[in-house]
């Protein structure tokens, strides 16, 4: 789990008081975002609870590797994402084998799909959808694609921050996001069609 912070290990001196102060001031304000991220990754309330708790306890334990003044939210999200991969993904209720295969296939065909890809979906149809329908479409995506959309469109991270959180190059962030959005449009199109919004 220390791998999560390998780039950021420094020799910051923290007194006990400072540990609590930084924890409360820098980390606690992000707990709602962290909880929602955990829930959208695990799709399970109990797992989300455990994941958030584990992440915050790790963050406290390894607080000396957090450099004050840097982006605490991105630092926390990175720990949570790594904890999810290491501890929760295996027991996740998602069919992960299918996910891996789909991710690999879509990445390999990324360029080909980029040049030919269009989804027949109108903005007006999306506007008609309610939040739960949008959330269901998002939740139906394989977790790696779901993650980039959550980080970018829901949490507002920059590509650079996403690259650090996910340990991937910025170019991969861009292409994964592009592919994720195309997949999301397909899901939204299904919802819009089933609701008769696109006719």
């Amino acid at each position: 789990m220390l791998v999560a912070m390998s780039e950021t290990i420094t020799t910051n001196e923290y007194t006990d008081d400072l540990r609590y102060e930084v924890f409360n001031r820098e980390f606690m304000p992000h707990i709602d975002s962290m909880y929602n991220f955990a829930f959208r990754l695990t799709m399970d309330e109990d797992d989300a609870n455990d994941l958030v708790q584990d992440t915050y306890l790790k963050a406290f334990r390894f607080i000396s590797s957090f450099e004050q003044g840097t982006n605490a939210k991105a630092w926390l999200f990175r720990i949570l994402k790594n904890s999810f991969i290491n501890d929760y993904r295996k027991k996740s209720k998602e069919p992960s084998k299918v996910d891996y295969q789909e991710v690999e296939t879509t990445y390999n065909s990324e360029e080909a799909s980029d040049t030919t890809y269009t989804v027949d979906l109108r903005a007006d149809a999306v506007q008609e959808l309610i939040g739960d329908e949008v959330a269901n479409a998002l939740n139906a995506l394989p977790v790696d694609f779901r993650t980039v959309i959550i980080l970018c469109d829901i949490e507002g991270f920059t590509y650079e921050e996403m690259a650090k959180i996910l340990d991937i190059p910025i170019g991969t962030v861009r292409s994964r996001l592009h592919r994720a959005r195309n997949l999301l449009k397909e899901k939204l199109k299904s919802y819009a069609s089933s609701m008769g919004y696109d006719s």
Binding site: M34, V52, L57, D114, Y117, A135, D153
Partner: protein
């Protein structure tokens, strides 16, 4: 402003060319449109976007759709508050 009351300049004439109904480099345009909406576009991409945005129907529609999806994700999806029990457990564990 009533355009018929003024003599159009050459530039205005050029801008009145029929809007493109088909985009021959739509895949590239989609990347730029998403970068613009994500506030990650380069200056060159922003310039290209400003100059061409109102000339291509597929790109205008794509921009509207991408923006609508992004806004829906940002504003429509419910954000739950973290349960108090998690906060209580975290605080008690780091204080023990």
């Amino acid at each position: 402003m009533n355009a018929s009351l003024t003599t159009p300049s050459i530039t205005e004439e050029a801008q009145k060319q029929p809007m493109k109904q088909k985009c021959e480099h739509h895949a590239e345009c989609m990347k730029v449109i998403q970068a613009i909406l994500d506030d990650e576009a380069t200056e060159a991409e922003k310039d290209h976007f400003r100059e061409n945005m109102d000339k291509c129907l597929p790109c205008i529609e794509s921009y509207r759709l991408e923006k609508c999806i992004k806004d829906s994700l940002s504003f429509k999806i419910e954000k739950k508050p973290c349960p108090q029990s998690i906060l209580t457990t975290i605080i008690s564990k780091i204080n023990s």
